[in-house]
Amino acid sequence: MGNIISCRGVEKIYRQGTVDVSALRGIDLDIDASDFATLSGPSGSGKTTLLSLIGGLDRPSKGEITVAGENIARLSKDALADLRLHKIGFVFQSYSLVPVLSAIENVEFILRLLEMPSAARHARAREVLSEVGLAGLENRRPSKLSGGQQQRVAVARALGPRPALVLADEPTANLDSKNAEDLIQLMAKLNETSGITFLIATHDPRVMVHARRHIELIDGRIVSDDRTQASAAA
C-alpha cells in the first residue's frame, strides 16, 4: 500500500518578536493510504502545526511534504486550495461551521465548489448526513444543533467530496463522553468501510484505542511511532 503522506526533514520556525521558535524539528514521516493514525503529545509539541503543514494551511520553513503525490511546497495558493478541496477533508477542534448555512447547506457548499450537479450534490449531502446520524436534522442551522451534532456536520462536510485523507485536529476536545465516543466510532467505521485515511491530532485515549498507529511528538520531534496489533492484523 502506498504512502498518502510523506514528510522529509520538515521544520517549522515561527518568529515571535525577535525570537525564532522551532515548532517542528526535522520530521520524517510516512502515512499509508487507508491508515487510521493519531498524533499525540503534550500541548505545544507540534501536533497542530504538523497537521496544518500536511493540510497545506501553512508552508514549512524547511523540508518537503508530499500529499497524494503532490509536493505542496511547490503549489500556488490556488493549487493548494484545489488540493484541499479535492483530496483533503478537515475536522477542526471547534465545530467550524458557517453559521448562516443549515447543516445540509454547509455540506453542499463544498460540493458546489467542486461543481457537482445540483441533484447529485443534494443526494450526496443527505447521504453523508445520514451516515453521521443526522438524518432529519438537515435543515437546522448550527445554532440549533448540539456540539456533538455540529461536529458530526463538520465530519459530514469533510467526507462529502470523498477525500483521500481526513485531517482532524482534536475533534473530540469539545464533546461530552457519549458524543466523543459516537464520533470516534463513526470515524473508525468510515475508515474501515470507505478506506479513507485518517490522521488525527489528539491526546484523547478513547481515540487512540481505535487507531492502528500512534505517533507521539514532543518538542517538535517524533519520539515514538507504534503500530498496534489491530494495524498489524489489518
Partner: protein, 425 residues
C-alpha cells in the same frame, strides 16, 4: 462554475448577521444617494429654468448677426440672409427660426422717457421661438409683419406711467444716420422677468424696417436646432453657408467689403447667455463635487463597516479557504456582499428622492421670492424632475465605487494564511 450563483445566497444571509450594522450602512448610502440626487435634480431644474428664461425669451439656441453687431448693435450692421443660409435654416436640422430687426431706441410717454431695444418681429416666426408672444398680460400681440402697433413689457408700462391703448413716441437712429421717430399705439403688454419687461418693445418687422429705412435687411436671426441635431453641427453648417454667401454676393454690412472676413457671426446660445451657460457649468461642476464629497463620506462608512465585518469573520474566511475556497473567491464573496448592500442603499436613496419630489409634480413655486429669481434670470416655477438617467449614472458610480472600496478589506482577508486566520483571529 458560476461562483456568483454560489456566493449570492451566502452573501445575502451574511448581510443580515448584524442587522443593525447593515441598516446603518444602508442609511448612509441611501441618505448620500438622496442628497446627491436632490441636489442634482434641483440644480438641473434651476439650470433648465435659467436656460429657458434666457433662450425662450428671444435668444434661441443660436443666433446670426452681422460681424460687428455684437460690439455695436447699430442699424448699420445688418444683413440679408442668402440662399445658402436660408436653405440650412429651412432644412430639417432647424426646428424654428425668426428674423428680426433689433436696435437700441428711446421710448417716450407723456411723463417718462426710457431706453429700450426695439425688436421688429415677424409674429408667426416669433411665436415658434419665443415665449413672449404668448405671455401677454393685456391687449394683443402683433398681428403680422406690417403691424405698426407696439407691444411693451408690464414693468416698462408702469415706469412710463402710461397704459394700454395710449400713444408713445419711439426714437432711434435710421440707416442713413439721421434720427428716426414715430408714434406707436400700445396694443399689448407682456409679462416676463423685470429686466426683459424693461428692455424689449416689439413692432412688426416691416414697420420697423420702414422706420429705419433699411429695406429688407435684418439685425439678427435666432434659431433652434431640431431634436436629434447637435447644435455645434448646425452652427458649423450655418457658418459654411455664410461663407458661401460671402463668396457669391455682397450681402454684408453697409460699407464693409465682401470677402475681407466672414461677414456673419453664427454663435451658439452659450455665447449670448453667459449667465445661463455659467449656471449650467456651475451646476455640472457642483454636482460632480457634491458627488465626490458624498462618495468619500459613504466610502468611509462602507469601508469601516466592511472592515469590521471582514475582521470579525477572518476566522470564517480562513476556514473556507482551509476547506478549499480559493483566495479570489473570498474576495468575490466580500465584493458581492458589498455590491448587494450598496445596491439596496442606492435603490432606497432613489426611492426616497422620488418620494421627496412627488409633492412637487406641479413645480416649486418661487413667487414668494419673485424679485430675487427675476434678478438671477430664473423662472418663477422650478420643475424638478427625476429622470431615469439622472438616477442611473450617479447610482452606478456610487455602486461601482462602493464595491471598489471593499476590495481592500477583502484582499486583506484573502491574503491571510488559513492557519493564521483560524488561530489568531
Amino acid at each position: 462554475m458560476n461562483r456568483v450563483a454560489l456566493l449570492l445566497p451566502l452573501a445575502w444571509r451574511n448581510l443580515w448577521r448584524n442587522p443593525r450594522r447593515t441598516v446603518i450602512t444602508l442609511a448612509v448610502v441611501a441618505v448620500g444617494m438622496w442628497s446627491i440626487l436632490i441636489f442634482d435634480v434641483l440644480f438641473a431644474a434651476v439650470e433648465t429654468s435659467s436656460r429657458d428664461q434666457a433662450l425662450r425669451v428671444m435668444t434661441g439656441e443660436g443666433q446670426i448677426h452681422a460681424s460687428r453687431y455684437m460690439d455695436d448693435p447699430n442699424v448699420a450692421y445688418s444683413f440679408v440672409p442668402g440662399t445658402a443660409m436660408l436653405a440650412v435654416l429651412n432644412s430639417p436640422q432647424v426646428s424654428s427660426w425668426a428674423a428680426r430687426v433689433r436696435v437700441p431706441a428711446i421710448l417716450q410717454s407723456e411723463y417718462e422717457t426710457r431706453p429700450v431695444t426695439l425688436a421688429g418681429a415677424s409674429p408667426e416666426q416669433e411665436r415658434k421661438i419665443s415665449v413672449l408672444p404668448s405671455s401677454l398680460a393685456a391687449g394683443r400681440y402683433l398681428a403680422g409683419d406690417d403691424d405698426s402697433g407696439i407691444v411693451i413689457g408690464r414693468d416698462l408700462l408702469k415706469r412710463l406711467k402710461t397704459r394700454l391703448g395710449k400713444r408713445v413716441v419711439l426714437m432711434t437712429q435710421a440707416s442713413d444716420g439721421h434720427l428716426a421717430q414715430s408714434g406707436f399705439v400700445i396694443i399689448g403688454v407682456y409679462g416676463s422677468t423685470t429686466p426683459v419687461e424693461d428692455e424689449f418693445v416689439f413692432t412688426g418687422r416691416h414697420a420697423a424696417q420702414e422706420l429705419l429705412g433699411m429695406g429688407n435687411r435684418i439685425s439678427e436671426i435666432s434659431f433652434d436646432a431640431n431634436a436629434g441635431t447637435r447644435l455645434d453641427t448646425l452652427v458649423a453648417a450655418l457658418r459654411t453657408a455664410a461663407l458661401a454667401n460671402d463668396a457669391h454676393q455682397d450681402n454684408t454690412t453697409h460699407g464693409q467689403p465682401s470677402g475681407a472676413h466672414p461677414s456673419l457671426v453664427i454663435e451658439p446660445w452659450t455665447q449670448f447667455s453667459p449667465i445661463a451657460a455659467a449656471i449650467e457649468n456651475v451646476s455640472s461642476t457642483y454636482t460632480a463635487v457634491w458627488l465626490a464629497v458624498m462618495f468619500v463620506l459613504m466610502a468611509i462608512g462602507i469601508v469601516n463597516t466592511q472592515l469590521m465585518a471582514v475582521f470579525e469573520r477572518t476566522r470564517e474566511f480562513g476556514l473556507l479557504m482551509a476547506l478549499g475556497m480559493r483566495p479570489g473567491t473570498v474576495i468575490l464573496q466580500v465584493a458581492i456582499e458589498s455590491a448587494l448592500l450598496v445596491a439596496i442603499g442606492v435603490v432606497l436613496g432613489v426611492a426616497a428622492t422620488a418620494s421627496t419630489l412627488a409633492p412637487f409634480g406641479d413645480g416649486i413655486d418661487l413667487n414668494f421670492v419673485a424679485s430675487g429669481v427675476d434678478r438671477y434670470g430664473l423662472g418663477r416655477i422650478l420643475y424638478p424632475k427625476l429622470d431615469p438617467s439622472t438616477a442611473v449614472v450617479p447610482g452606478m458610480i456610487v455602486w461601482a465605487l462602493g464595491i471598489a472600496a471593499t476590495l481592500w478589506p477583502a484582499r486583506r482577508a484573502a491574503r491571510t494564511a488559513p492557519v493564521i486566520a483560524m488561530t489568531q483571529f
